[in-house]
């Protein structure tokens, strides 16, 4: 597999396997994460185009007193990638997420997204629920998924003035991306609805409802169904 390995810090490196956001590159990233396993790896962080590997430089130095820990780590990583050859990453789960669309409190920007794209609000919901989204990575906040695969016909730039508080569960659009806020945070996304599901699960391991590699589908629920769901959560 074609790849580049570069230092990230002096106790971490970054493996780059592509230059764009695509399911193919994502699968390569996932395959690498699944393949690597060494006691000196402290953490692996997959992203759109590669994987960061954090390592214990002291442990590597102890085992290989005459080598650079980075070079040792890079050599291991390279060998791992070569051994993957054409093997595919295991396919992720498919997860359905209920969303109550629209309304001044849940999806205040739904009318703006519709108008921006010359659609009705129902058409925006239709397009948002008809696709399967890939969880490329988690970041920005605990459990926040970077989803790919949104229909370009419902794209809209971020708000010029970010909101100071976006409630947990808010579903939004930023450019050609869609996402769900797991925590109350400030943010500039156009909000189109809200899910009763908690994406950040502080009491669980892993603490995130979604994982890199999962596929996500949204489905529209009424406010009554939303409230019932929330009670059960």
């Amino acid at each position: 597999m074609k790849h580049i390995i570069e230092p990230l810090g002096d106790q971490s490196l970054f493996i780059i396997v592509g230059e764009e956001i695509s399911p193919d590159i994502h699968h390569r990233v996932q395959a690498i994460v699944e393949e690597m396993d060494a006691t000196w790896i402290t953490e692996m962080v997959p992203s759109y185009t590669g994987v960061a590997v954090y390592y214990d430089a002291m442990q590597l130095r102890k085992t290989y007193p005459h080598s650079s820990p980075y070079e040792r780590a890079a050599a291991y990583v390279s060998a791992c990638i070569d051994s993957i050859a054409g093997r595919e990453a295991s396919s992720g789960r498919t997860i359905d997420i209920p969303v109550c669309y629209g309304g001044d409190d849940f999806g205040p920007d739904l009318p703006a997204v519709a108008e921006h794209n010359g659609l009705t609000e129902d058409e925006v919901i239709e397009k948002h629920t008809s696709r399967e989204y890939l969880v490329y990575m988690l970041g920005f906040a605990p459990g926040f998924p970077f989803l790919g695969g949104m229909d370009g016909e419902i794209a809209m730039p971020r708000k010029e003035e970010p909101r100071l508080k976006i409630p947990a569960g808010s579903v939004g659009i930023a450019g050609s991306q869609t996402g769900v806020y797991p925590l109350e945070t400030p943010g500039g996304w156009q909000l189109i609805g809200r899910t009763p599901l908690s994406l950040f699960l502080p009491e669980k391991t892993p603490p995130s409802y979604l994982q890199p590699g999962d596929k996500v589908r949204f489905f529209s629920v009424t406010r009554e169904a939303y409230e019932q769901w929330e009670e059960e959560e």
Binding site: E6, P7, L8, G9, D10, Q11, S12, F14, E19, E20, I21, T42, E43, M44, V45, P46, S47, Y48, T49, G50, A52, Y54, A57, M58, R61, S68, P69, Y70, M137, L138, G139, F140, A141, P142, G143, F144, F146, P182, L183, T185, F200, P202, T205, P206, P207, S208, Q211, P212
Partner: protein, 337 residues
């Protein structure tokens, strides 16, 4: 039990960080000056990862309802126990009923307090660090307020020995301290004015030549908007020669990112796990302490070194910390206090 009489500007419980959960978007957190945090623990016989208190710019005040073995490291906030100046970087045994008070930071920005056994704290995902964004860990997931209380965990056998030796010392005053200390010469914040060492970041080559020159030749001023997430710098703007869209990718402690306005940001402990700004440079781990001790208004300079040199400096620093640990153990075994 220890009572918090004054909380200071921003005081939180921290340990060495919450590793292993970045892939779920969970920040690493932990002490910003990890060397000061670790040494605070080491000098009193704690595990180096035990929870300490991190105070920022303006210190707190405490009332000790019971005697305690403690240590103070990092920035100098002129600590006093019942009015008597307290020496730093060494074990101090404070008697029951005394008050420990800190002032403003006269040197550095962050001061650490460790107590024997470590502070009791809420654990979240295996770490006691305060995770402000999510409101978990440490002390109810937030900074201390006046009137809070602190409890200690069980002391190690080594801490007990240090306590025995300090109580045998005949001292007239509110506390007893060892004659030895960890040399703070080794702690980079005492070399103020010395440049922060960096190596090239992944997008270094995308910057204008003139910007690359400015970055190491000009001084950058620390902005007041800096916090545990990052140090915001003001100075000669740094521009890309090629306007390239950067796809979000992992960042780490000490990553220097440059947003569109050309003003660099150095990421610290509470950084997000990924970032979408070009990475100009990366601070060497051996200079993280220096980063943790800069304060708003300070001028910082950067010096480019090869990655290999950063790695060598890191290993040297770790060796020094390991040496400190065994030297202290020896002192305690020999009964030198």
């Amino acid at each position: 039990m220890i009572e918090v009489l004054e909380a200071g500007l921003f005081t939180t419980i921290q340990d060495s960080g919450r590793a292993g959960y970045q892939k779920y978007g969970v920040s690493v957190g932990g002490a910003v000056d990890t060397v000061a945090h670790r040494l605070a623990n080491i000098v009193i016989g704690n595990d180096e990862n035990d929870a300490t208190l991190e105070m920022t710019l303006q210190g707190a005040a405490f009332h000790f309802r019971e005697a305690a073995l403690l240590s103070i490291t990092g920035g100098d906030m002129q600590p006093r126990i019942d009015g008597v100046p307290v020496p730093m970087w060494r074990p101090v045994y404070v008697h029951k009923g005394n008050e420990l008070r800190f002032g403003n930071a006269v040197k550095g920005a962050r001061t650490y307090i460790a107590v024997a056994g470590g502070f009791q704290a809420d654990e979240f995902l295996g770490s006691a660090s305060t995770y402000l964004q999510a409101g978990f860990g440490g002390h109810e997931g937030r900074a201390f307020q006046k009137g809070g209380t602190l409890e200690r965990n069980r002391s190690s056998a080594m801490s007990e020995r240090i306590v025995d030796q300090l109580t045998e010392k005949r001292i007239n005053g509110p506390f007893a301290a060892s004659d030895w200390w960890v040399s703070d010469m080794a702690v980079p914040m005492n070399n103020q004015g010395e440049a922060i060492r960096v190596f090239e970041g992944r997008h270094h080559h995308l910057f204008e030549e003139e910007s690359i020159r400015s970055f190491t030749e000009e001084a950058y001023q620390v902005d007041t908007k800096s916090d545990r997430m990052g140090i915001r710098l003001k100075g000669e703007p740094l521009n890309l020669s090629v306007k390239e869209e950067i796809i979000s990718e992992p960042v780490t402690f000490g990553t220097i990112q440059v947003p569109q306005n050309g003003q660099p940001i150095v990421l610290l402990a509470d950084r997000q796990t990924t970032g979408g700004y070009p990475k100009l440079a990366q601070v060497a781990s051996a200079d993280f302490s220096k980063l943790g001790q800069v304060k708003p208004g300070d001028k910082v300079r950067f010096m480019m070194i090869p990655h290999r040199e950063a790695e060598r400096l890191l290993l040297e620093q770790e060796q020094y910390i390991r040496w400190c640990r065994s030297a202290i153990r020896r002192k305690v075994e020999e009964g030198h206090i």
